[in-house]
């Protein structure tokens, strides 16, 4: 792509307007996009690496890290399994009500994080529809880990389906139908035919889910109850530390979370580049067959 992209024909003759625009671009990137991450690490290391590491290995911090990892793994596992089935359904079949399902799956994207937390309190909070009743039989959902998981599931709901669907639609269903004629079962087709073709998209969707699940703040904040050591995830612990004027500890935690999120997103762009590189090859073979 880059080889085809137009570039200024000769760099030696840039007009003053162009130079001004380029300077502006660097200024925007520097002030808006470079300073914030630099500040995170500077503040984290303000009292030295030892202090930063000590604040990350504090018991409450460790419990927040553990809870975040648990919630992320659970949310990714659940939303990926169901997301794959939903993408299969929407890509391979046409049926009445299909577009309604597509629209419903998209909804969580437009919902404010706070609202994504609130809806669970309406169901399971102390004044919610079923909160009291469930409490009486010893089940607590709001202000406990099940509530955090539900909020995380809601905000990361569409990502796997959204990433898989365009690709699975492009695949058509010829290979799947051939496999059916050869007697393959549904699971066999999904594992052996459809998913290998869509593996990069699946990974990309899973990583997007991971990144969002780790970093979710608003939704989790509403349902968690903020009990340090019990229901605090990493983002919530960052808030507690920051509001308690423990700046170094807050930014150390923030640096760790930022590294985790950026690593996830970085891996995802690698896979997406891979996906794009494989696509032209597929198009060529398809063109050759036609």
């Amino acid at each position: 792509m880059n080889a085809l992209a137009p570039s200024s024909p000769d760099n030696a003759r840039r007009s003053p307007a162009e130079i001004a625009l380029i300077a502006a671009a660097y200024a925007i990137v520097g002030l808006m996009l470079v300073l914030p991450p630099v500040l995170v690490f500077t503040e984290a290391l303000r009292s030295g690496l030892g202090a930063a590491l000590a604040s990350i290995t504090d018991p409450d911090a460790l419990s927040a890290i553990k809870l975040t990892l648990e919630m992320t793994v659970a949310a990714v596992a659940i939303n990926t399994s169901f997301g794959v089935l939903a993408a299969w359904l929407l890509a391979k079949y046409r049926f009445p009500g299909r577009s309604v399902l597509v629209a419903l799956i998209e909804i969580p994207i437009s919902v404010s994080p706070v609202v994504a937390g609130l809806v669970w309190l309406l169901l399971f909070g102390t004044q919610g529809w079923w909160g009291e009743a469930l409490n009486r039989v010893g089940i607590t959902i709001a202000f406990a880990t099940p509530g955090i998981l539900l909020a995380t599931l809601f905000v990361t709901f569409p990502f796997v389906t959204r990433t898989l669907l365009p690709l699975m639609e492009q695949q058509g269903r010829d290979a799947e139908e051939a496999a059916t004629l050869l007697g393959a079962s549904f699971w066999r087709i999904l594992w052996g035919v459809t998913l290998p073709e869509a593996r990069w998209a699946l990974l990309s969707g899973g990583l997007l889910t991971t990144a969002r699940a780790m970093g979710e703040f608003g939704a989790v904040s509403v349902v968690s109850g903020h009990i340090p050591g019990l229901t605090e995830t990493m983002p919530l612990h960052i808030e507690t530390l920051y509001n308690g004027y423990q700046s170094v500890a807050a930014f150390s935690m923030a640096a760790l979370l930022a590294i985790m999120a950026m690593a996830t997103v970085g891996m995802r762009s690698l896979f997406e580049a891979r996906m794009r590189r494989e696509e032209p090859r597929k198009a060529e073979t398809a063109g050759g067959g036609a």
């Binding site: 137009p6 760099n11 470079v34 169901f82 299969w88 809806v119 309406l122 709901f157 004629l181």
Partner: protein, 297 residues
């Protein structure tokens, strides 16, 4: 691109059954996939949203009117909407410049800039929140020089706008960038040869071609901005009637156990951002159709 690409079908899947649509689908798994999807969608999305839609009416119309007749709520909604609009507007020129620099120049570090543009998407909102609050605080790296100029950013509406600008910037860049890439640079060169001045090229050549993508970037940034919570609350002053955003008031009402109040604000936020995103999706479909028609002609 994944942010805003809709799930709309691009191509009908081929079917072995050309004779009749009613014939049994040869592909196994329809019932299983449908059942799983309905269960998952029902439990995680439909059920909670149904609660949101029903709850405001549960205590009767008078309770709902009382909840709506709340000056603090309208003030918070106004702060959220105004800040989101202003931030998205201010992001337009910035995003346009970055998209132009990415597409039309061979700047050193272009790859790095490309990666940095997605940073606001990648960084968790709580991290963004405490970082911007520190950056723009009166002693902060940007806050100190600005306060010497008499501009205070943190703990006011200005801070809210600054945070929303950070969150919204990638939406503009990533909406404009592909369209600008498809626009032949010869267009600009021809305009230059014909004697157009740089501002004329921007106003007469670039802006009309990029307008749909600018509007959709604006819409995405705005929809995100009105609901944004984590990256805003640390830098906003959170003073009722002045610098309190609507999502924060939802949290405040919940802490007061005022579920009716919280739900009515939540409902308004949900309707506003859904309507905005639906409008963007419609605009994109139209723009796509326009391009197809042009290509076919």
């Amino acid at each position: 691109m994944n942010l805003s690409a809709t799930l709309s079908p691009t191509r009908e899947p081929s079917t072995l059954h050309a004779k009749g649509r009613r014939a049994r689908d040869p592909l196994p798994g329809f019932r299983l996939a449908l059942g799983a999807t309905l269960l998952w969608l029902g439990l995680i999305v439909v059920l909670p949203l149904a609660a949101l839609a029903v709850r405001p009416w549960q205590e009767g119309a008078s309770a709902m009117l009382a909840a709506l007749n709340d000056g603090r709520m309208f003030a918070a909604l106004r702060v959220s909407f105004q800040s989101a609009v202003l931030a998205a507007i201010l992001d337009l020129p910035l995003g346009l410049i970055l998209a132009w620099a990415l597409v039309r120049t061979r700047l050193p570090g272009r790859r790095l800039i490309d990666a940095l543009i997605d940073l606001p998407f990648a960084i968790p909102t709580a991290v963004t929140g405490i970082t911007l609050a520190t950056l723009y605080s009166p002693q902060g790296w940007l806050g100190a020089p600005l306060s010497r100029l008499g501009i205070s950013v943190a703990y006011s509406v200005t801070g809210i706008v600054a945070a929303l600008m950070f969150v919204g910037l990638p939406f503009i860049v990533r909406s404009v960038e592909p369209v600008l890439r498809d626009l032949p640079s010869e267009l600009e060169e021809a305009a230059t040869l014909l004697g157009a001045r740089p501002w004329q090229i921007v106003a007469r050549v670039l802006t009309p071609a990029l307008l749909p993508s600018l509007i959709s970037g604006f819409g995405l940034a705005f929809a995100r901005g009105i609901g944004e919570y984590g990256s805003v609350i640390f830098i906003a002053g959170n003073q009722p009637f002045r610098s309190e955003i609507a999502p924060l008031l939802v949290v405040v009402r919940l802490q007061e156990f005022d579920y009716a109040g919280a739900t009515s604000i939540a409902f308004i936020l949900l309707v506003a951002s859904s309507a905005c995103l639906a409008a963007v999706a419609m605009l994109r479909r139209r723009a796509a159709r326009g391009l197809v028609a042009e290509g076919a002609a």
